[in-house]
């Protein structure tokens, strides 16, 4: 048997910690090279055994195992089982929610339209103050064309109206005539924003005639009347009230 063939046996014997048989022992005594190899293999085996034994005492800390187990539990944690909802099926709830949404949108549009219509582009301020015998009307200039306010019940003063219908602009004169007032001819025009008082009083036909109002010859006594008087105290319109109308 050659040295090369014996080397494999030497390695395996040294790894197992076994002793060579008689024939091999005789060869090792004769061959210095094989003898050295045998000693080196035995030495290496003993050193590796030391390393192996010491490494056996080492290991991962217990905390590593615990952390891994926690991670495993977290990864494989099943979501809680949800109980079936009693009552209506889900699609009914969905339809109901959609209907409620549509209703809300419709209501919003309707209310929005109304609120837009009710909000004037320019503010309108009209105020009527009634006293015992006197009604004061104040009207400031109105620029809101869409106002629902009935202008016929107010006497408003504005600038630049013609004087042909007494102290009122034409449209207001029409309103007054519809209300039973007779404009006083040749009265001065109302100043812009001027307040007009309506005074309940009794007038003689002569007084009416002096204002330029046509007087029925049948009227003989005092006549109850409403006189629209400007801030300057001058009458602007007259309305015969009560029975005096029949005089």
């Amino acid at each position: 048997m050659s040295c090369g063939e014996l080397t494999n046996d030497l390695v395996e014997l040294a790894r197992r910690g076994a002793e060579p048989d008689a024939a091999l022992r005789a060869h090792l005594l004769r061959c210095a090279r094989c003898g050295e190899r045998w000693e080196a293999e035995r030495d290496l085996t003993s050193q590796l055994r030391i390393i192996r034994e010491r490494a056996a005492a080492l290991g991962s800390p217990q905390s590593q195992r615990q952390a891994l187990m926690r991670d495993f539990a977290r990864i494989h944690r099943r979501p809680p089982v949800r109980m079936a909802q009693p009552g209506f099926p889900k699609w009914i709830w969905a339809m109901g929610a959609a209907a409620a949404l549509l209703l809300a949108i419709f209501a919003g549009q309707v209310l929005g339209k109304h609120s837009i219509r009710r909000v004037p582009t320019r503010a309108v301020h009209n105020r009527g103050i009634r006293t015992d015998r006197t009604v004061l009307y104040e009207a400031s200039a109105s620029y809101d064309d869409q106002s629902d306010i009935d202008d016929s019940v107010f006497l408003s003063g504005s600038s630049g109206f013609p004087n042909g219908s007494g102290g009122f602009p034409d449209n207001e004169a029409v309103a007054l005539s519809n209300d039973g007032f007779i404009t006083v001819p040749y009265s001065p025009p109302l100043a812009p924003g001027e307040m007009v008082r309506v005074v309940h009083t009794d007038l003689y036909p002569e007084s009416l005639a002096s204002m330029g109002v046509e007087v029925d010859p049948a009227w003989t006594g005092e006549l109850p009347a409403d006189v629209a008087v400007g801030e300057d105290g001058l009458p602007r319109a007259v309305r015969i009230t009560g029975n005096g109308q029949n005089y």
């Binding site: 080397t7 494999n8 390695v11 790894r15 190899r37 080196a40 293999e41 030495d43 290496l44 085996t45 050193q47 590796l48 030391i50 390393i51 192996r52 010491r54 490494a55 056996a56 005492a57 080492l58 290991g59 991962s60 800390p61 590593q64 195992r65 952390a67 891994l68 187990m69 991670d71 495993f72 539990a73 990864i75 494989h76 099943r78």
Partner: protein, 182 residues
């Protein structure tokens, strides 16, 4: 009857934590030692053995029973991790750190042991694998051949070659002391 690694793996994938714990108890110590011997660092060994199981329970595990055993798969992961860590640079922590309390005789032994470890770390990976698995883990040639995916004859020849390299290194290491003794 004890379940095989593959059976435990299947149970583990279904969320069985006991199966995962059994696999860990069965395979982690050897994987730790393998990483320790391959890297020479307990810290690296801890990191590697932990990462192997992190990858095993992760959603992207690609273990295929038809291609090999689970144990081979685990060793493959560990080997790749050690390789990646070694590529980052030298491992600073020596493996013989826990034995520094030893007396003089043990210090000499430790010196030899440390030199052996250094030699192991400097060896080509194909030799280091077989030394660690065959001689330090005392696995059979057949086991190692299965784990590294090489024929038994290759494992045996690599082991003999690796041992010859280590023996030569030990001989050089012991030479000065022989001179000193003379």
């Amino acid at each position: 009857m004890q379940k095989s690694d593959e059976e435990l793996y299947r149970l583990m994938r279904k969320g069985n934590q006991d199966a995962f714990a059994q696999l860990y108890e069965r395979r982690e110590p050897a994987l730790y030692r393998f990483a320790l011997h391959m890297s020479g660092s307990p810290a690296v060994a801890e990191e590697v053995s932990n990462e192997v199981f992190v990858q095993l329970m992760g959603p992207t595990t690609r273990f295929d029973e038809t291609r090999g055993t689970l144990e081979s798969f685990l060793y493959g992961i560990a080997r790749n991790l050690v390789r990646a860590i070694r590529r980052l640079g030298p491992v600073a922590e020596p493996v013989d750190r826990p034995f520094r309390h030893d007396i003089l005789g043990e210090l000499i032994t430790n010196e030899t042991t440390a030199a052996l470890h250094r030699t192991l770390r400097e060896m080509p990976e194909r030799y280091r694998d077989v030394i660690v698995l065959c001689d330090l883990e005392e696995r059979s040639y057949e086991d190692v051949a299965r784990l590294i995916g090489r024929p038994v004859g290759t494992v045996r020849s690599r082991l003999h070659r690796a041992r010859a390299l280590l023996s030569a290194k030990l001989k050089r290491l012991n030479a000065p002391s022989e001179v000193f003794s003379k």
